[in-house]
Symmetry: C2
Subunit: 258 residues, 2 copies
């Protein structure tokens, strides 16, 4: 299995490559189109990981796990329900989550699986999506909870989930990841808050990619955040959230103060 990563060297140079055992084997070209190994490697400590892709959009699912639907008393939907988080909200491993300007309310974490699109994808049958998925990453889909329902006429999904730093992605993109056997765990300051099986998804990855690709064109690097399950909660200022999926890794971000 290959893991793709984007990095920043300690001298500030950005690049990408494959990531194995803490070492980067650098590549050149385009991660999504004929990447070529340069032969150079970066040892652990010589770089930090950045968000592993630069999505033009994150398609973020709502109500995609049976357990959370049951808890909220919602029917399973007939088609994936989602909002769009803009590319401008993306941060990577260890980057701080920042409070929106002037906002003193609750900020929620949601640990999720992210599907990373590998090539342009439009109206692809579910049986054919394999070639369009580069791999999988961890997502912390952050929400300004008090913004969401602030207005009685209009649920502010895009605003409450679209603030800068509210789309945490990483640490890497794992190819050939077996989602059916995996759990998503989320720890808040080390305490386990979410631990749910991806097998409980209402629409699994192939179905999500296919159906959403019939709604809109997905671009290389776009991310589908598969939705969360039970155990969502608030992040206090200064608290640290770790979203972990075995086979991908741990995505760790803290809520910084401005």
């Amino acid at each position: 299995m290959t893991c793709w990563a984007r990095f920043r060297s300690k001298h500030g140079r950005r690049g990408f490559g494959t990531y194995d055992g803490g070492v980067i084997a650098e590549c050149e070209g385009d991660m999504f189109d004929d990447p070529r190994p340069t032969g150079a490697t970066l040892a652990a400590g010589a770089f930090t990981l950045e968000n592993p892709c630069l999505p033009s959009k994150i398609v973020a699912l709502w109500n995609n796990f049976h357990a959370l639907a049951a808890k909220l008393g919602k029917q399973a939907p007939a088609h994936p329900l989602y909002l769009i988080k803009p590319g401008s909200c993306v941060i990577g491993p260890d980057d701080p989550i920042l409070r929106p300007a002037g906002y003193a309310g609750k900020i929620a974490y949601e640990g999720e699986l992210g599907i990373v699109i590998g090539r342009r994808c439009k109206q692809v049958p579910a049986s054919d999506v394999g070639g369009y998925i580069l791999g999988y990453t961890c997502v912390n889909d952050v929400t300004a909870g008090d913004v969401l329902n602030e207005n009685p006429d209009f649920a502010q999904w895009c605003r409450s989930k679209g603030h800068d730093t509210f789309g945490c992605l990483g640490p890497v993109i794992a190819t050939d990841f077996d989602w059916q056997a995996a759990q998503v765990t989320t720890k808040l300051d080390g305490a386990l808050r979410q631990n749910y099986p991806l097998a409980d998804m209402i629409f699994p990855p192939a179905e999500l990619v296919s159906r959403i690709s019939h709604d809109m064109t997905l671009e290389p690097g776009d991310v589908i955040a598969c939705g969360t399950s039970v155990g969502v909660g608030s992040i206090r200022d200064g608290a640290t959230v770790e979203v972990r999926i075995e086979g991908i890794g741990s995505l760790i971000n803290s809520l910084g103060s401005r």
Copy 2:
């Protein structure tokens, strides 16, 4: 006043430049960062206009006109209400609007003013937004009306307004445009359906750019679609919609059949 446009020559070459009297004065470089005239011109008939920018996101306002709010019985909001339309939905002048795959329901037009961001914009005071706005364009904010409220638990704003071809922009980006004196008119197969004053906006452009830039970073080429007013309706297959704003021009798109 300068009007910026992107074009495709009759030989298929794409470029950009200033547009005056049907003639393009070509530029090179970046429209948003030190564009330089090449000295070449393209005469009318030698090119077609494309969408004048390639937004990373369209921030699309809901309930931003007093007349429509009154008609719908809604309070004026305390903060701009919006959803995000992805860059993948954008088309330009004369490009066909296409029905989403498998969708036989209503498709609605909404004639709107679009603000085109000129440079990266984050937490900018309303008094300072002038330098961050490149200019203004026309928008037809198209919606798959029957998708929007298909699910009782979740209004599908991003899906119903995010389909490919549902973000019509153009024909040009007009700088120094006086929105306060302008009307938006929308004609459906030549019949006037919308004719509303931009002065009726709840949040005017400077306020929109400032407030939204406090919510999320706006990038060069991003578009804020200012919302629509009364007169929204459905487009039959084959019908043509013209959104016209004096000082910008006419944006014309037809609903094609697949």
